[in-house]
């Protein structure tokens, strides 16, 4: 614990974007200029009161923040154990935490004067959040999405189109989120003069992991204040799902220095960790280099990235934000896995006993929190990040139930 206590978490990453051995800027030469430009704009605006005021205003009046911290009384009672609180990011405009980040990056884009934004998306939540801010600011928007995800998430694809975005199907590789990110990087390198790349998670080349974390940290700052106000103390544990890890880092970061707060990042266990068919690099991967950063990855013995599996498109990614890799190594956050079936059960359970339908991504966090709560005392509290709402997943769930809508 002494090692951790001496770390100033706000000083991470270092000047070159490294979190210990992770992070960094592993991109081809052509992109360095764009990253330098982004970093310098971010540095100049980060502590600018006017920029911060604009960000706060948009979060309050456009996104609808602060999001509630809701005491799930019935769920707590039926579970038995620690008190379960839900951080209701599902109530944000567009239905997930993703909008916090796209609001921030769109403000940066505005400052660059670039008229075109691009994004990658898996479940479509980040794509929708990007298309939304682009519509509001009158920017041209192209969203790259794996062909397989387009099938799985047709509702979000249509939402993006209604918002005026062009959804570009990605047919290379495994046709999922990682390939969408490859294609977005290729587009950026080609159109770097007039295009701003809005990355949706806390991964990618420096400075993305840092700036996405900082925009998403509003989740943890609010949860901290709300916990103190509602329970008179800090929570004993935080639980959030981890794909790339932006909702988790947003919740965790403002608590990292609070040693009494335990943290659990929940990866997608897919068909089960033992099957190899999952998306849990922190549980069952090794460090490597992908998408501009060094981090834990799912790869084969030749260093090729392997196809992942999760019932939730938003967690179906072979990498993870580099800060999570570092937090794992130093032991500050514990990373666990929940498989498809457990997540589905949690989805149904929370829907029935709280009237809250969680996204399949967030259902992973719900499932683990329930297990954890049973091992804790009734005077302890757990804050679970309910990162998105489940409406987008209804077709997937219906299909599992054998129902055609």
């Amino acid at each position: 614990m002494n090692k951790k206590a001496s770390i100033d978490f706000n000083q991470m990453p270092d000047a070159h974007g490294h979190f210990g051995p992770y992070g960094g800027r592993f991109v081809s030469e052509t992109l360095i200029y764009a990253l330098d430009e982004l970093e310098s704009i971010y540095r100049s605006l980060k502590d600018d009161p006017e920029f911060q005021a604009q960000f706060d205003y948009d979060l309050a009046h456009y996104v609808g923040r602060p999001s509630p911290l809701y005491f799930a009384e019935r769920w707590t009672r039926e579970t038995g154990g620690a008190k379960l609180f839900l951080k209701r990011e599902d109530l944000n405009h567009t239905g997930a935490h993703k909008i916090n980040n796209t609001i921030g990056q769109a403000l940066l884009a505005k400052h660059t004067g670039k008229q075109r934004v691009i994004a990658e998306t898996g479940a479509g939540q980040h794509g929708v959040a990007t298309a939304t801010v682009a519509a509001r600011l009158g920017l041209e928007c192209h969203v790259f999405m794996g062909e397989e995800d387009i099938q799985r998430q047709s509702l979000n694809v249509y939402r993006m189109k209604l918002l005026g975005a062009t959804v570009v199907p990605v047919t290379s590789g495994s046709r999922t989120l990682k390939d969408a990110m490859n294609e977005a990087l290729r587009d950026w390198v080609t159109n770097v003069d007039d295009t701003f790349y809005i990355i949706g998670t806390c991964a990618g080349p420096h400075p993305y992991p840092e700036l996405v974390r900082n925009f998403q940290s509003v989740i943890g700052r609010e949860a901290r204040q709300q916990s103190l106000a509602q329970t008179g103390k800090l929570p004993d544990a935080l639980v959030a799902c981890v794909g790339g890890g932006s909702n988790a880092i947003g919740l965790f970061h403002p608590f990292l220095a609070d040693e009494s707060v335990a943290m659990y990042g929940v990866e997608a266990g897919g068909f089960g960790l033992g099957t190899g068919k999952h998306a849990a690099p922190l549980n069952d991967g090794i460090p490597g280099v992908l998408h501009g950063n060094r981090t834990y990855l799912m790869e084969d013995e030749n260093g090729q990235i392997i196809e992942t599996h999760s019932i939730s498109a938003g967690l179906d990614y072979p990498g993870v934000g580099p800060e999570h890799s570092w937090l794992k190594d130093i032991g500050r956050v514990k990373y666990v896995a929940i498989d498809d079936d457990e997540a589905m059960d949690a989805f149904r359970h929370l829907t029935r006993i709280e009237g809250i339908m969680p996204a399949l991504e967030s259902s992973h966090a719900i499932a683990y929190a329930e297990k954890l709560a049973r091992k804790m005392d009734p005077d302890q509290t757990i804050v679970v990040n309910l990162s998105g709402r489940g409406d987008k997943d209804i077709l997937t769930v219906a299909e599992i139930d054998g129902i055609t809508l």
Binding site: F26, S28, E29, Y33, G173, T190, V192, G288, Q304, I305
Partner: protein, 271 residues
């Protein structure tokens, strides 16, 4: 002396420009690459650039992406590349070979282990697309100690400060990326290439070669006139794809197809 240095010295004495073809290891089949490498040399290639397939080749356009996919479909790997170059060296001791690829397969082997295998195979240079100078420190030092040249890219967007940094770290030659974009994209802007190459020359004595966007004898010549050589990739790989699409399997057919292209470029460069 490293074969890349030797080759550029000879070219300089002869007043000729370097022709550097790029193909992907194992595209489309394992037995095609070695005969094609020898054929490229016979037609006048000065240095061979062998692409190491990677699952996520973010700097490549569709043509080379598909070549990586064809090669990965039957399991081509970095180890295979090293084995293949060792076989190539059984009969060719003089043509420099560069491996071009991405960091992760090398990291998986481990830098030191990779370098041992590369030395044993007779690799002369390495170009790791996603390992810019900021991240290349340790690898660069180990390559330097082993006498393997670490080749870096410079782009139209590289700042003056970065051009200096790359010039200081780079070995072999500077690979100037002639356009903003992925491999195989767009058209060359010769005026812009000249400005950039002239500037890079003020920073380093290394040869400067130009790649991305060179499609035929004429564009090769136009760029070679401004630089020390040209890298030709997508146009060759397209030809491989054409044959693969026709279910061609004879290594000889692939060799013949790329030979005529390379011969045309050699002719344009020399005459």
């Amino acid at each position: 002396m490293n074969r890349i240095k030797q080759r550029f010295e000879v070219l300089k004495q002869q007043g000729r420009k370097a022709l550097i073809p790029y193909i992907v290891l194992g595209d489309p089949a394992a037995d095609v690459t070695l005969p094609v490498m020898h054929a490229l040399v016979e037609q006048g290639a000065d240095i061979l650039e062998l692409g190491v397939p990677f699952s996520d080749p973010t700097a490549e356009g569709p043509v080379i992406q598909k070549a990586h996919e064809r090669a990965l479909a039957h399991g081509s790997s970095l180890r295979d590349a090293l084995t293949l170059v060792k076989q190539f060296r059984e009969t060719d001791f003089t043509t420099p070979v560069i491996l071009m690829g991405y960091a992760n397969p090398i990291e998986r082997l481990g830098y030191q282990h990779f370098i041992e295998l590369a030395l044993d195979a007779g690799i002369d240079g390495v170009l790791t697309v996603d390992l810019p100078p900021e991240e290349a420190g340790e690898f660069n030092q180990q390559l330097g100690e082993a006498g393997i040249e670490n080749i870096f890219l410079l782009a139209p967007t590289s700042s003056d400060k970065r051009q200096k940094m790359v010039a200081e770290m780079a070995g072999g030659f500077i690979y100037y990326v002639s356009l903003k974009g992925v491999t195989g994209a767009g058209n060359l802007d010769v005026v812009s290439v000249k400005q950039h190459v002239d500037h890079i020359r003020t920073l380093t004595d290394l040869p400067v070669c130009v790649g991305f966007g060179i499609k035929d004898g004429a564009s090769a010549r136009a760029v070679a006139d401004l630089s020390d050589g040209v890298v030709v990739g997508s146009v060759l790989v397209s030809k491989m794809a054409e044959l693969a699409a026709r279910a061609e399997t004879s290594p000889r057919a692939f060799s013949q197809a790329v030979s005529s292209l390379v011969a045309e470029m050699r002719d344009a460069l020399d005459n």
